[in-house]
């Protein structure tokens, strides 16, 4: 499981370099936390069997899942409002 998580983390890092602008890069970032961190943390949680540390890791994971979209959203919204031009086709 940690291996799967690391795979997604590496892909996200590659995406950070390859993708053209803030908006597309934010997709690579969301890959990091939703899948990369999820698999790594779940792997760690079950690595030594069930203990109180498992519970702690689950708390970290829950906070990560709640907070990360908020940060991505804030970044992207700020980028758009401050006049960053997305590469995207505009269909608003």
């Amino acid at each position: 499981m940690i291996g799967i998580g690391l795979f997604f983390l590496v892909v996200a890092a590659v995406g950070m370099v390859r993708l053209p602008d803030v908006f597309t890069r934010s997709h690579a970032v969301s890959l990091t936390d939703s899948l990369g961190a999820f698999f790594v943390l779940m792997g760690l949680a079950t690595y030594h069997g069930f203990s109180t540390n498992t519970f702690r890791i689950l708390v970290v994971l829950a906070l990560l899942i709640l907070v990360n979209p908020v940060i991505s959203h804030a970044t992207v919204r700020a980028a758009l409002r401050s006049g960053q031009k997305p590469v995207a086709e505009d269909r608003r």
Binding site: V11, H27, S34, H73, V76, L80, R91
Partner: protein
């Protein structure tokens, strides 16, 4: 200081104190006293005097929502990984507006967070009536445009949740 306020304050203090105990695992008097004070302080700060709950959650729908969202995250995560690792980088980003009548702020929060959490789509703007979403390519827009996500959110927060 009405009864509801006191009850809610006690409830949150208890929840936070139990969380503290589970995380700290030290049960001597000093640690427990510090933990209790912290729990009480946070509960005092967060408990709203005039707060009335304006939304309804169907808990079993919420429990179904989590594995469903995770399966969608997995599918689109693999898709985004494919796009990133593809030698020609076949992305076709698109910024689109999506109308969604969700009813309550909490439903908007859940919907916006779910969109952002799913690789390939990011919520750029969100309010009561519409969301502006940035997607990495045409395939990533599926769940939002087909209103599938919206329906799942509406099941967790049924209509009549009340708008503030």
């Amino acid at each position: 200081m009405n009864a509801i306020y006191t009850k809610r304050l006690a409830y949150w203090t208890a929840v936070l104190f139990v969380l503290w105990l589970m995380l700290s695992e030290s049960f001597n008097a000093l640690h427990m006293a510090v933990g209790f004070s912290a729990a009480l302080l946070v509960a005092l700060l967060r408990t709203d005097l005039r707060a009335e709950r304006t939304y309804v959650i169907r808990w079993w729908r919420a429990l179904l929502y989590i594995p469903w969202l995770f399966s969608r995250i997995l599918v689109s995560g693999v898709h985004v990984s494919y796009l990133i690792l593809h030698p020609r980088l076949p992305i076709k980003p698109v910024l689109f507006r999506h109308r969604a009548d969700l009813g309550s702020d909490e439903a908007v929060l859940l919907m916006g967070n779910s969109i952002t959490l799913t690789p390939g789509t990011v919520t750029v703007e969100a309010d009561d009536e519409e969301l502006i979403v940035h997607a990495l390519d045409e395939d990533s827009t599926g769940d939002v445009l087909s209103q599938r996500l919206e329906k799942m959110v509406a099941r967790v927060f049924p209509a009549g949740g009340g708008r503030r």
